[in-house]
């Protein structure tokens, strides 16, 4: 089973269409294995990207060195998935009872 330990979801606020273009360029860098949950299109709408743990540093350095405003939407994806899984198991037990 694939795990997502240490993967984060970053929420990026682009300030201009130039920054949107830069984020779109990021999408083409396949080696970073980024999963765009919300795509870069319009500066009014934040961009959400799931970043694998091993590429977090590179992506954050890229964002910070280009003055992107971002926040961490999900600190550790696996933790949230584990909670979700536990909740599902608990619900299934309740239903069996």
């Amino acid at each position: 089973e694939r795990t997502f330990i240490g993967d984060q979801v970053l929420r990026i606020k682009a300030k201009s269409y130039d920054e949107i273009n830069q984020l779109q360029a990021l999408e083409t860098l396949a080696h970073l294995q980024l999963d765009f949950w919300a795509e870069p299109h319009n500066p009014d709408i934040p961009v959400d990207i799931r970043v694998p743990f091993e590429n977090l540093q590179s992506v954050k350095v890229y964002l910070e060195s280009n003055n992107f405003e971002y926040s961490i939407m999900i600190e550790d994806l696996q933790k949230v998935i584990d909670e979700e899984k536990q909740e599902m198991e608990m619900n299934a037990r309740k239903e069996r009872n």
Partner: protein
Amino acid sequence: SGTFNYGAYHSLDTLYNTISSIAQDYSSLVTRQQIGTSYEGRPIYVLKFSTGTNRPGIWVDAGIHAREWVTQATALWTAHKLASDYGKDASVTSLLNSHDVFLLVVTNPDGYVYSHSADRMWRKTRSVNSGSRCYGVDPNRNWDAGFGGPGASSDPCSDTYRGPRAESEVEVKAVADFIRAHGRIKGFISIHSYSQYLLIPYGYKCTNPADYTELMNVGRAATSSLSSLYGTKYTVGTICTTIYQSSGGSIDWTYDLGIKYSFAFELRDTGRYGFLLPTTQILPTAQETWLGLKKIVEHIRDNPY
């Protein structure tokens, strides 16, 4: 039986059992139809809500990208709502007295199972791509609408891989064949999450559809009704102007086929969870979405073409 917990995420088996239960519990109104089989051999079930013969139809599907669990949950809740409100709610009753509704709760069953068992973030089908180590096709880049154009990848390892040809995915072909064979589908609504958008064609090109003004007005009325419950804010617009250019999408195909009322819903996001929306959010999401859906289907009912 009334014991099903709509406020929880469930396995495919449980969803399928519940789909069967709804058809049994409301047998005079609802039938379960198998419209195809997934790549890995799972049945693709549609719930048909019908009170007579030779009616025009409205299509609703959910969860084409498997990881969007709230989407399938919302569709299942909607199925129960439609069935239980018939004969009680005047709007639902008049809708189902004039139109059939087809509801596909799990559009990508293989992906749904894979997201439960192997990769929670999976969004594609599970077909084998010959010559590649990577599996699956993005089923919402695989429709015959500008296929192969911008906003879809030709790389089988990409999450937006369009596939070798339009309708190469059996899950897509099953729906397309059903729509073509029916011939009188008047509305097509595809439910996704998350982003809080109500989208209209086009995505494969950046020009407005001929019915742009009407579709935008319907969309605004729907999202205004949706927002009245919990204040969730939606953006209405074409796929290209609201998100980005993307080819091979379902509502572009249906619109070009002549189904004027073609919409894609991107359901709620609180800004904290993305595709991991907690179960406490399921019922509010379903309830508010229903208000939006109802506005759309009422417009379809009242504006025959």
